[in-house]
């Protein structure tokens, strides 16, 4: 008797039904996005070999939340730097050159470096959290290896009933290849 495998559902999810259009030209892809959005299609996945502002504008997405990760990480790093240096100074008081035990000016260097370190690591975490999660969530969505080279792709999630309409829409916008997933 086969035992149920809860991980299978997590890692081997069925592909999302929809239509994938392959575009050789950027302006055709942008036109297709605009037409699709006008036609009420949401949750499009647009593949491109490089980030292009034309695509961003057509998709009209909100600003990435990564900036909050950077800000929080930076502030946390600065605080950690101040805490580390001051707490350590008073935990093992060492008078150097008759200066106060906790002398802030030299500690600014440590606070600065920790701001950058924590800010950068947390930015990386922000990208990983947002982009990799997005990639993982979209792992069930059709992909074509040409998208990392020189083709643009648009995936429209839809049921079999709406697929023919989407197909003709993508072809009409200039897709060089359209296939169902």
């Amino acid at each position: 008797m086969a035992l149920p495998n809860p991980l299978k559902e997590l890692f081997d999810r069925p592909p999302t039904p929809g239509v994938l259009g392959v575009f050789a030209h950027l302006d055709s892809a942008v036109a297709a996005i605009r037409t699709l959005k006008a036609g009420g299609h949401r949750d499009l996945t647009v593949y491109s070999p490089i980030p292009r502002h034309e695509l961003e504008e057509a998709l009209d997405q909100p600003v990435s939340p990564v900036r909050m990760f950077t800000l929080v990480g930076g502030i946390a790093g600065c605080t950690a730097g101040a805490w580390l240096t001051l707490w350590i100074s008073y935990d093992w008081p060492l008078v150097v050159g008759g200066k106060p035990v906790g002398s802030v000016p030299p500690y600014v260097v440590i606070m600065f470096e920790m701001t950058i370190l924590f800010g950068a690591l947390s930015t990386l975490l922000g990208i990983a959290f947002n982009a990799l999660m997005a990639a993982r969530r979209r792992g069930t969505i059709a992909y074509d290896p040409r998208f990392s080279n020189d083709r643009f792709g648009i995936f429209v999630p839809c049921g079999a009933d709406r697929a023919p309409g989407v197909e003709s829409l993508l072809t009409g916008s200039g897709a060089e290849e359209v296939r169902r997933a």
């Binding site: 050789a24 030209h25 950027l26 302006d27 055709s28 942008v30 036109a31 499009l44 996945t45 647009v46 593949y47 491109s48 070999p49 490089i50 980030p51 961003e56 997405q61 990435s64 990564v66 900036r67 990760f69 950077t70 930076g74 240096t85 350590i88 100074s89 935990d91 093992w92 150097v96 200066k99 002398s103 030299p106 500690y107 260097v109 440590i110 600065f112 470096e113 920790m114 950058i116 370190l117 950068a120 690591l121 930015t123 990386l124 922000g126 990208i127 947002n130 982009a131 990799l132 997005a134 990639a135 979209r138 969505i141 992909y143 290896p145 998208f147 990392s148 080279n149 020189d150 200039g174």
Partner: protein, 452 residues
């Protein structure tokens, strides 16, 4: 794999460089290596083994094998440390600062520069550890709770340095890896066999969807914005290792900008030294053009002028400031037993780069390659002069002045550091795209149908 396992023939350059051409030309560099590559790698590993042998001898018999003699206890190892940290800097300048300035030419050269940064910091980081002598106690540098209740002294520039170098290594590694992800994905989609497996893992599932690019581009921007002040701070902090001390020749307010300019100067020279053979070996003439070299040469000229100005200012202030100790230190530097080191540094760093005023030299790759090696030699001597000569001729106690001669152990470990650096660099350029695929495409005109 269409590209990497294909014969290493160069695809004919199209009339207009297309996305596809860029992907294939760069992916082709990851194919089976040529004999020349193995020869270079063998030479690097050979040098590294010399360094390892010398290091093992020093572990067994102690630091006495190096040429340390009173009053010179900071010598070739610290010189090498500053030299390699300096090399690292131009990588971040090209990858982060020029990114913020949106200068298009950086796209073809920044990956090489960024990889150079990471490996140079890796090399630099070894030297303080070699220098401390008892390497097995290296963790004493780290603030960690211990039974003795001891903590490092945060008023010491050496601890600042540890934080600066540690942060720099971490951040530049993150920056390099982040930039690599889309490129590795592009190579993955062309690869077959074991390379496919390698890139499948290292691409981290990247597909270039709008959701990924949205976070990636933002995050990349912030990392660049964080790396920019970081790179300026790192060599400033390294300079404070010296400037905070009262040794004449070290104790100067000019040190931070002087060191940062010198670091970028030597780093740009090293980028040229590395790019020339890579461009030849991988036939990347279409992507890395004379224009790129000319821009690097201009950067070299600019920073070389700043370095030349700093030399002038140092000597001028030593004379004009009227401090007899300062004056004695600089007299010793220019006309003492180490005159040859000082004049090598001045000729290589302040006079030779003046040749770059001529466009003929800036666009002559061979001339640039030769010049870049002289700059590297000059910049190594700059650190040697600042560190060793200032200590040897320390004018407060002239009766202790003494000569210092590096021994085979010093030279061996230094040679090993070059081997270590080139080994990592060569392994990198053969296994990962040495030119950014995505960013080179970004400066091309996108394919347009023109119907809309």
């Amino acid at each position: 794999m269409t590209a990497p396992s294909a014969p290493p023939s160069v695809p004919a350059a199209p009339a207009r460089v297309t996305y596809d051409y860029v992907t294939r030309t760069i992916a082709r560099t990851l194919g089976d290596p040529s004999r020349g590559y193995y020869l270079l790698l063998g030479a690097a590993v050979g040098l590294l083994s010399i360094g390892i042998v010398c290091l093992l001898f020093m572990l067994r018999y102690g630091l006495g094998l190096a040429g340390y003699s009173h009053p010179v206890y900071w010598a070739v190892f610290i010189t090498c440390f500053v030299f390699w940290v300096g090399i690292a800097h131009s990588g971040t300048l090209i990858s982060a600062i020029l990114f913020l300035f949106r200068s298009g030419w950086r796209t073809a050269v920044y990956r090489t520069a960024e990889a150079m940064t990471v490996f140079a910091v890796m090399t630099a980081g070894l030297f303080p550890l070699i220098h401390i002598g008892r390497q097995w106690y290296f963790y004493w540098l780290i603030p960690y709770p211990n039974d003795s209740g001891l903590w490092p002294n945060f008023k010491s520039p050496l601890i600042w340095d540890e934080f600066a170098i540690g942060t720099y290594f971490t951040v530049s590694t993150c920056f390099l890896i982040l930039g690599l992800i889309p490129d590795v994905a592009a190579v993955r989609d062309l690869a077959t066999g074991w390379r496919r497996k390698l890139y499948d893992i290292t691409a981290l599932g990247w597909r270039g969807s709008n959701e990924e690019w949205r976070h990636f581009t933002r995050g990349y921007l912030y990392l660049a914005a964080l790396a920019t002040p970081l790179v300026l701070s790192v060599h400033s902090v390294v300079s404070w290792d010296f400037a905070m001390a009262i040794v004449p020749g070290w104790h100067a307010t000019i040190f931070a900008p002087y060191f940062v300019a010198g670091a970028i100067y030597s780093g740009v020279a090293m980028v040229i030294t590395l790019l020339v053979p890579i461009r030849r070996l991988f036939s990347l003439e279409v992507l890395i053009t004379e224009h790129h070299f000319e821009n690097l040469a201009k950067l070299c000229l600019l920073t070389g002028m700043i370095v030349g100005y700093a030399y002038t200012a140092e000597y001028f202030i030593a004379w004009f400031g009227g401090n007899p100790y300062e004056r004695a230190a600089f007299w010793y530097r220019a006309f003492g037993p180490y005159w040859w080191a000082s004049w090598t540094m001045i000729i290589c760093n302040a006079f030779l780069p003046q040749l770059l005023w001529f466009k003929k030299i800036r666009t002559n790759i061979t001339a640039l390659f030769v010049l870049s090696i002289f700059v590297n030699i000059g910049m190594w001597f700059e650190r040697f002069v600042i560190i060793v000569v200032s200590l040897a001729g320390e004018p407060y106690s002239p009766w202790t002045n003494g000569g210092y001669n590096p021994t085979w152990a010093d030279w061996g470990v230094m040679a090993g550091s070059f081997g270590w650096f080139f080994m990592w660099f060569l392994l990198f350029v053969k296994n990962f795209p040495a030119v950014s695929i995505a960013e080179v495409k970004e400066v091309l005109a996108p394919p347009q149908a023109g119907r809309h």
